[in-house]
Each structure stands twice: as C-alpha cells, then as structure tokens.
C-alpha cells in the first residue's frame, strides 16, 4: 500500500507539470484588462490542468489494478480540485461585466468546457465509488480512458482560449497604439 501511495506521489506532480506545459506559456497579466479577471483566467487554466491530470491518474489506477479503496486521499484531492474549479467558474461568471472585451469573450468560451470537465470527472469518480466490483471490466476501462482523453482535450482548449484571449488583448493594444490620426 505504501508503494501505491509512493507511486501516486511521483505520478501526480509529473502529470500536473506535463499538463501545465501543454500549449503556450501564459502571460495573462500582460494584456490590458481587469487584473482580477486575468488572475482568475490563469487559475482556470491551472485548475483545468489539475482535473485533466486527475482523470489521467484514474486511468492509471484502472491499468494497474490497484485497490481503489486505498486511494481515499486521492479522491478527496480530486474533489477539491473540482470544487476549486467550480468556485473559479462562479467568480468568473460574476466578474464578466467588469472584464475587458477579450476577457469577456474568453470567459464565455471557457466556462462551458470547465463545467463539462468538472461534470465528467465527478461522474467518473462517482461511478468508481459505486461499482468497485466492475473496475476490471473492459467497458469500464474504455470509459475511463475516453474520459481521460476528453479531459485532456478540454484542459488544452481552456488553456488555448485563455492564451488566445491574452494574445488578442495585446494585439488590440498594439493596433490602437499604431492607429494614425487622419489616415
């Protein structure tokens, strides 16, 4: 059992690092706009990566035939990630009216994906908790695998939309700076 926890302790930080580095490096604070919203967008990006890493970890449990009940701490951690993401979604939603136009567009685009991701991962955790005798079934493994792939796609999309919004903010700022009077 100690070995299992030790393996998890090694895998999780590696997964988080890998997912955090997925698309472009983020410079959310660079573009003009509300700093509070930029900070939340950055949080959303990090939290999506964490949830995708959790989904991959669930997949690795399925492949290694480990006893799920020994991973209570991990489930708690996963649920904490989902709850944190839900709080970020609520905060972003409430700050939308104070956001710069590029930020409002980014919020509108990422929220459905974040919600979908949290819902899918919650469903996967609930399924595992309720169906522990079926964890070696092919259908279960296929499901967890598809869920993990989906989470990765969603996390990448969230990151790409945030990065794009930031890039667009910079682009608009530059264009305004270069606009010449009386052209």
């Amino acid at each position: 059992m100690k070995k299992c926890h030790a393996t998890g302790a090694i895998i999780l930080p590696c997964l988080v690092a890998a997912f955090t580095c997925l698309p472009h490096p983020l410079q959310a604070a660079d573009a003009p706009g509300s700093p509070a919203v930029s900070k939340l967008l950055l949080e959303a990006k990090k939290q999506s990566s964490l949830i995708a890493a959790d989904a991959t970890l669930l997949r690795s449990y399925g492949q290694s035939n480990l006893d799920w009940t020994t991973h209570g701490k991990q489930i708690t951690r996963m649920r904490n990630h989902i709850n944190a993401a839900a709080k970020t979604v609520t905060a972003l939603d409430s700050l939308k009216s104070h956001a710069a136009p590029w930020q409002a567009v980014a919020i509108g685009r990422i929220l459905p994906y974040m919600r979908e991701m949290a819902e899918d991962t919650t469903n996967a955790i609930d399924y595992i908790n309720k169906n522990q005798s079926r964890l070696s079934d092919k259908e279960y493994k296929d499901y967890i695998e598809a869920n993990s792939d989906m989470s990765r796609e969603l996390a990448t999309l969230v990151a790409q939309f945030v990065d794009y919004g930031n890039s667009k903010g910079n682009y608009e700022k530059l264009q305004q700076k270069l606009e010449f009077p009386g052209k």
């Binding site: 598809a146 989906m150 796609e153 969603l154 999309l157 794009y164 890039s167 682009y171």
Partner: protein
C-alpha cells in the same frame, strides 16, 4: 506476397500512428462524411492562413498595396475560410447533435480568423508606409501569433468533437453492460 501484405499493413499502421491529432469523424460512425470533411477543411485552412502570416512576418519588405503573390495567396486563403464557414452553416440541418455543437463552436472562431486577417491586411495596406520597420515587425508578429492560436483552437475543436463521440459511446457501452 504475404510479406508484401504484411509490409503494407505495417506501413498503414505507422502512417496512421504518425498522423497529427485525431482525424475528424474517426469515431463518428454515423456522422455524415461531408461535415467531417468540412471540419478537416476548417482545420487545414486556418492552419494554412496562420502559416502565411508567419511567412509574412519573415518578409518585412512585403508591399501590401501591390499585388504581391503572398498577399494574393493570403486573400485566397481568406476566401476559402469564408466559404467553409458558409458551408458549415448550410450543413447544420444534416449534422448530428455532436457535430452541430462543434459547428456552433468552430464557426465563431473561423469568423474571427477571417475578420482578424482582413483587419490586419486593411491596416497594413493603409499604413505600411507610415510604419517604422520595428512597428511593422511588432504588428505582423502579434497578428501572426493571434492567427496561430486561433488555428490551434480550430484544430483542437475538431479533435474535441471526435473525443466527445468516443466518450458518449463509452458511456453507452458502460450503461448497457450494467443492465
């Protein structure tokens, strides 16, 4: 003969394995092929447009007011993007729910690509002679970066559609197995 067949099969597996990302419609067994093809077109065209901006960024001497081949090519790329958007909109009635949701997500991004590229071309056409070399480079560089990110989003949205079909299928199988 058997060896040749084995070799062909291995090559096919290798080529499939090397293909970047998922191909649209791989898992969409019942999805109309025309829509999957339009998704692929959207991916290819946005990526092509982004590459053309990148290529322009490397040519600070490009004259936007003249008929430079690069500018013409870029305008053709833009027109192709606009046509794909129109075709995607027309195809809504034949789309599966999952494809429809992807069309809803891809179309605004594609429109943004063409609007942003049109704005950039207009801006450069009107202001190129007034821009210093550094301003020009900064502008083209930032425009290329924006275009590249949008192209990546289109590509990821196409992958997302395939993954969604895959996940829905896995969920259905799981439910059936539980009964």
């Amino acid at each position: 003969m058997k060896n040749i067949l084995m070799c062909l099969a291995t090559s096919a597996v290798l080529i499939t394995g090397m293909a970047p990302g998922l191909q649209a419609g791989d898992q969409a067994g019942d999805a109309p092929d025309t829509i999957s093809k339009l998704f692929d077109d959207a991916r290819t065209q946005s990526s092509q447009l982004s590459l053309e901006w990148k290529s322009s960024a490397r040519q600070p001497g490009l004259i936007w007011t003249s008929d430079a081949a690069e500018v013409t090519r870029m305008k053709e790329g833009l027109n192709a993007t606009v046509k794909t958007v129109a075709k995607l909109n027309e195809a809504r009635s034949q789309a599966s729910p999952s494809q429809l949701s992807t069309i809803d997500r891809i179309v605004p991004v594609m429109q943004e690509i063409s609007e942003s590229s049109t704005t950039a071309i207009d801006f450069l056409t009107k202001n190129q002679t007034r821009l210093t070399s550094k301003q020009y480079k900064d502008y083209i560089g930032q425009s290329s970066d924006t275009s590249n990110r949008l192209a990546e989003i289109v590509s990821k949205l196409v992958d997302y559609e395939s993954r969604k079909v895959q996940l829905d299928l896995a969920k259905r199988n799981l439910e059936l197995a539980a009964k």
